[in-house]
């Protein structure tokens, strides 16, 4: 079922450490209660495609909030703000987890919320979403990891004060069902890393489904990029909507 009628706006939410953060929030209009989704943006930042993806989820029945993980860098175009964050070595995992928890609380406080909240992330946000499910297992009812790189860490340089732990080492904490979407031509995560992630989830007895797409690499949902793969993206979105509806209502 789709909801062509929706409302979308920028909102303020209570983020990590009590900071007041910016977010993009879209929700379907109409009667009834709706499940929620926290959308974790990709490394380039809180850009136009992220707002499109947020509205797409709302169109399919999910009150969706995309917290601006770089809001502390101040105003500016998404690419300039993202460049400053990259130059500073990215954002700290603990801060992202706090922001995601705050975004989930925002969703649950809405009058049209059904109380269940999933998390989805793209690119670095896929890794964040995986990590959020590990570190805040009681806040999220479903996880969709879209090609999150560095869930398995092979390069020691990827671990530092801001990102001290490989998410895969915390996977035992995950309580919710997991959907993973990956392109077989991706370099981060590559096929071997995806296989190793799946092996860990299987060994831990987690409720997971992984889908791997031939002819697709990184960011194949993003219609604004050369990486876009229409057929694989359509299938991936359909699987995402079905998964969230199954587990969130």
């Amino acid at each position: 079922m789709s909801y062509p009628g929706l409302v979308a706006d920028t909102v303020k939410f209570r983020a990590h450490n009590g900071d007041t953060g910016d977010a993009y929030y879209a929700w379907p209009t109409g009667n009834g209660k709706f499940p929620g989704v926290v959308l974790i943006h990709h490394m380039p930042g809180w850009d136009e495609w992220i707002t499109e993806a947020t509205r797409k989820l709302a169109h399919h029945g999910f009150g969706t909030i995309a917290p601006h993980l770089y809001f502390r860098e101040g105003p500016g175009s998404p690419d300039d703000v993202g460049a400053r964050v990259r130059a500073a070595g990215g954002v700290a995992d603990e801060q992202v987890i706090g922001d995601a928890k705050g975004a989930a609380a925002y969703l649950r406080a809405q009058p049209h919320a059904n109380g269940k909240v999933g998390v989805i992330g793209f690119c670095s946000g896929g890794r964040h979403a995986f990590l959020i499910s590990c570190k805040a297992p009681d806040d999220f009812n479903a996880l969709v990891d879209c090609w999150g790189g560095n869930v398995v860490v092979d390069d020691p340089k990827a671990l530092n004060a801001k990102r001290p732990v490989a998410p895969i080492d915390l996977a035992g904490n995950i309580k919710c069902p997991i959907l993973g979407l990956f392109g077989n031509d991706d370099e981060n995560p590559n096929k071997d890393q995806v296989n190793r992630t799946e092996a860990v989830l299987k060994k831990l007895g987690k409720d997971y489904v992984f889908h791997r797409y031939d002819g697709a690499g990184h960011a194949f949902f993003n219609a604004a990029r050369v990486a876009y793969r229409a057929e694989q993206a359509a299938d991936g979105w359909a699987k995402t909507f079905a998964f969230f509806h199954k587990h969130l209502g």
Partner: protein, 109 residues
């Protein structure tokens, strides 16, 4: 590959920045990753910034790997050609606006 890995190069110079205004620069942040704007899967990206001034403004480029390698060669060629010309000028007792140590140039700012 969404790695946050950035190579930083210190430098002395200027770049034409926002609003067509010149800005001094002291750092180039260099990375090879998914670009923001260029329609390339991966790009060599350079953000020229001035960290001494807060680093909030930048002049950015996103170019293909082949373009970057070609640019490196052209920079080397330009420097070699310039060094030859300037050496000849020095021999002829001519002055050159680019003459001077790094400290001399830094003092201009």
């Amino acid at each position: 590959m969404c790695s946050y890995i950035v190579e930083k190069a210190g430098m002395i110079g200027t770049a034409k920045g926002p609003n067509s205004r010149w800005m001094r620069i002291d750092t180039a942040n260099v990375y090879y990753d998914h670009p923001y704007e260029a329609q390339l899967d991966h790009a060599l990206c350079v953000d020229f910034v001035c960290e001494a001034d807060g680093g909030r403004e930048r002049v950015a480029i996103e170019i293909s790997r082949e373009s970057a390698l070609d640019l490196i060669e052209k920079i080397k060629s330009a420097l070699a050609s310039g060094d030859t010309s300037h050496a000849q000028a020095a021999q002829a007792n001519m002055t050159c606006s680019l003459k001077g140590s790094r400290e001399d140039i830094a003092a201009l700012f």
